[in-house]
Point group: D2
Chain length 279, copies 4
């Protein structure tokens, strides 16, 4: 009577550190890999027939073996290797989706020079890569998340609807902070993924900084529109900008005026603005 209308399975949170031991110095790469497979897994569910199950433990092992066997410069390359491996490994596996979350490490400076093998985890930000292979074509998305940014002026919010439940005051000068998540799709498999990520990130920050913001939506759109203009290999961009509210502390009870100097951040509740733009 029941029919299965969707199913997938895989291994999540496979954490990998690869040390590339160059002659003069080491490079390190830290990824967390998530694997999701689709295919003909009906009887696994309905009959407990495991003959079609590639165990998630095997998926985990495969990540480490592939990391050893292959040289790769980007998470896109590694995701392609993994997705093609899994779809190719069994006839009934039709699709593999690989998500790679990179924790960037920064080379230390010691005595004024780049250290050959010491690193610090410089940023809370994570870099994301999504590779989807269906046996015929491979599609790539990339992104960043947990990038916390703030502008201390050049942002206002006014002219909005007032109803019986409105208490918010209009302002032409507020703190605008967010934890940016952005994900963009590539319309090609041949982009210079590393350079695009680097330049696109730089432009997102600049656009955020320079925009005279009338609302979160207004700035999000500006950022997305310009990215599509400037990066021809980007087909669409999806951005989520939760408002990290830094509220003006009311100093009036103490006979003082808060000239946009003293704020207190709150974690909840938060405004959540989300939009996807395409060319």
């Amino acid at each position: 009577m029941a029919k299965m209308i969707d199913n997938s399975y895989g291994k999540s949170g496979v954490r990998l550190l690869k040390v590339v031991r160059g002659a003069d110095r080491h490079e390190i790469i830290e990824y967390t890999v998530d694997i999701l497979l689709n295919g003909d897994f009906e009887t696994v569910h309905t009959k407990g027939d495991n003959s079609k199950v590639l165990p998630t433990d095997t998926m985990k092992n495969t990540v480490y073996v592939m990391a050893k066997k292959h040289d790769f410069k980007t998470a896109e390359e590694f995701g392609k290797i993994l997705s093609h491996h899994f779809v190719g490994s069994q006839p009934h596996i039709s699709r593999a989706r690989i998500t790679i979350t990179e924790r960037p490490w920064q080379r230390m400076n010691t005595k004024g020079s780049p250290d050959p093998h010491a690193f610090s985890q410089a940023v809370g930000e994570r870099h994301t890569t999504f590779v989807d292979y269906n046996g015929k074509s491979t599609s790539f998305k990339a992104g960043l998340k947990d990038l916390i940014i703030l502008k201390s002026t050049n942002s206002g919010f006014s002219g909005y609807i007032k109803d019986d439940y409105t208490t918010l005051g209009e302002t032409d000068d507020r703190v605008f902070a967010t934890s940016l998540t952005a994900t963009w799709s590539y319309n090609t498999t041949e982009a210079d993924f590393a350079a695009t990520r680097k330049n696109l990130r730089t432009r997102l920050l600049e656009l955020f900084a320079e925009h005279h913001s009338l609302s979160v939506q207004h700035t999000l759109y500006e950022m997305g529109e310009k990215v599509l203009e400037e990066f021809p290999h980007v087909e669409d961009i999806h951005m989520t900008m939760p408002n990290k509210h830094f509220l003006k502390f009311n100093l009036e009870p103490f006979g003082l005026e808060n000239e946009n100097e003293i704020f207190y951040p709150i974690e909840e509740p938060y405004g959540l603005i989300d939009a996807k733009l395409a060319r």
Copy 2:
């Protein structure tokens, strides 16, 4: 040149405690409410025109005002009140999605009797409710998440594919633990939501416990299939069962045999099994 292919905005993390002060005893309800609106918000983004923006701060106020003005027995009722309010408040708002996450509180027993106004937060588990209103019809989903369950036997895993990357051994007796997330859709707006939630939760636990499990998928399917059989108001059910691995500790180096007694849990990596069943 850019076109917006999707957008929404709202307030997340609006936390509410309502104390219902009965004559003899208090009831307390703790919700976290997330609101997402869709509608004609194009110019908000493209022109910074805020005249169509209902501020998220107003949404927050509205939650508290509605909680005061209305009596409600379930999150479904409260979600309906909120979603209808927002869609009705402005002609250009076409859809409101309300997610309510309830933290269940348990009445304390003091001196052997239920205390009239003291409570403890008994569980990590959360109860979820999703109400979606588009101006014409209201649809309801309900669920639970972070329900951590474990069976110490009656679970095996064998007969799976072995390839060059397999190291996992077959077993007919393992620990099966998961943090269950389940969400079910109602095919009616008139179900007894509270009773269904209670009974469905009980059945999920019983089905998990009693099933002779050949794999996570096998048990997940059994649970979903039986829910659809037994609860006619449930149209579909979506379950996510991350494997919370409790691995057998290898005691051989110490001259001891581990007769399925000594395990160590790991948080990462974890198998992730996900399926949606419909009638």
Copy 3:
């Protein structure tokens, strides 16, 4: 020139699940064990001489081996086994401190009866045990943490100091909520640890519920004082009660009166009340 004035080392976060496979039903015990050793470790630091280092990896193995070899009914017993083992293992190890954090599991009911081997993680609360052995005597502490409790009335706060920075209003009826941490020392090594924990926990909850609270400090003291009166084996008790603030939402702008019904919790900032009482 530098002298070392304190040092310790050990293994933290050793997670253990022990399944006690009884004839009719299983019992499960989940502990997280932290081990800290003191002793003559000077040259380990100053000269890199590892001949005195018992590796933390070995400590981890020892936890699992001891869990296999020994039957124990309480974390106090298991902590004693471990602490005596480590101090006895090497002449230069003079002290071992064992902290055990238990995640309580609750047996499921299936078809109205206790299930023989299925469990749910019923509480967020953790049970703590501290065993300290110095080669001569063993001392025991026990406690609980993350026990979230709330009373919706029978609590006020007034009569406090008002100064230039005061805005808080007095109230004789507020929500009082806290995440209780309590740790008590035993003046004996022979107490019935399991029964004491159970009864002491019950009394803490009852005392919290029943007390007519004039402040957090007032209630904390009442709870501690009564515990010392009622439990002769408890030598002292240390309690920490962070105020989990549930603030009254201001409904006046909406023409409504908030009759202590509608509250919003905040996570930060929070009042922190801490005291230690001894007999």
Copy 4:
């Protein structure tokens, strides 16, 4: 019968953003402030007499008012202002301890130049400051925490005790990673706190990177010893170095040799090394 042998209270988690609006550009400071007071609070506990209670809500307000009224360049200055204020505010308050945790923000570069008012949260690392005032003298500590560092070679571990529970293999080349917490005391109230923090942090990283490590203890001691040698205003330094284990993945089952290239991080269990060095 019960006597109170210790008590304190205060406000924790007071979060502050101060925007210093210079003519050409803004500076931003984000602090989380914790306040703990000691004094004659006996009757608050024993009698519910609130006439000696300075409410924690007032402490919170005071943080914001003092942040507005005073210019300060360091957390040490701000902590001194707050601690002296609280002790001076009431005769029965004898001691105030202020902990300030700073989240460092980094000025963005836009179009190749430092932006006047846009920032990103560059690091997970936090800077800590502890000011303790007892009515007569003020003492200062400073530190850092959550600084995640890794060296991919130049670290070994061998020559340790082997017993019946040892399985760890010796190595002369391993990954050494930690989340460093360091706190140092000043023997003066007149140090250049900002410069000392900056230089001491740089030296900690260099010493970690350059040391030929025979154990975590060995490197920790080296770092502490050199800090005491090089920074005359530092009286003692306390370091905690949890081992963030990056374990070598076993590639032998796959016919491959892992030449220290492929590692997997685990969060638990972790070695914990802690020592305090003084001059």
